[in-house]
């Protein structure tokens, strides 16, 4: 069965500083990897996803993530954090449903990001 570990429960950074959120996964086949963001009181929004090809993927809001098979990692990065980035971030690995193009997502426990003005 697949699993996702997000080692950092809570991270605090200053506005303008760079950010890296860690994610490690366990999956028996080619992983389908996702990062979602959840702002307070809101549902989850997809930031980016990796299926194959270029291991560096670009997402919305200036985020990117790098897939490293050798380390079973899919870390999320942003070069300069804005106060509006304060939220909870979830990494997920997807097991595909055959023929449907949809995925059963297994989520990590999340990393809460606080931003100091």
């Amino acid at each position: 069965a697949q699993s996702v570990t997000q080692p950092d429960i809570h991270i605090t950074v200053s506005e303008g500083a760079s950010l890296e959120l860690r994610c490690n996964y366990s999956y028996g086949a080619t992983p389908y990897l996702f990062w979602y963001v959840q702002s307070p009181g809101q549902g989850l929004q997809l930031l980016l996803k990796y299926f194959s090809g270029d291991t560096l993927v670009q997402g919305i809001k200036g985020f990117e993530a790098e897939f490293k098979r050798s380390q079973s990692s899919f870390n999320l990065r942003k070069p300069s954090v804005h106060w509006s980035d304060a939220a909870e971030y979830f990494c997920a690995v997807g097991a595909p449903y055959s023929g449907a193009g949809s995925y059963q997502l297994t989520f990590g426990k999340g990393t809460k990001l606080s931003v100091i003005p």
Partner: protein, 113 residues
């Protein structure tokens, strides 16, 4: 509608009572998911519907939990004889056929007292 709609947004119930949580997916989306989000535990998959196919119920934690999807659209998650450990935010998501992104609703916060 513009997004996935869930109702109620908040529900407080007494232990032992049954509750129903409703999800209206985005129009035209064939896939519908239910997840449970407990404090500090991340999101836990509950159930998946895709068109007229048999649902994937592998995530339902006990037989007190059930869900249905009528007419391929609206879904209802029912929890019978609620327990305090059922307190959580229940999230619904939908996606169109052949599309990997799941669009989430804002959730229903269930509190069992």
């Amino acid at each position: 509608g513009a997004g996935v709609s869930q109702s109620p947004s908040n529900k407080v119930t007494e232990k032992g009572k049954d509750v129903e949580l409703r999800c209206d997916p985005i129009s035209g989306h064939t896939a519908l998911y239910w997840y449970r989000q407990s404090l500090g535990q991340g999101l836990e998959f509950l159930i998946y519907f895709q068109g007229n196919s048999a649902p994937d119920k592998s995530g339902l934690p006990s037989d007190r939990f059930s869900a249905e999807r009528t007419g391929g659209s609206v879904s209802t998650l029912t929890i019978q004889r609620t327990q305090q450990e059922d307190s959580a935010v229940y999230l619904c998501a939908s996606s169109p056929l052949g599309h990997s992104e799941a669009f989430f609703g804002q959730g229903t916060r269930l509190t069992v007292v």
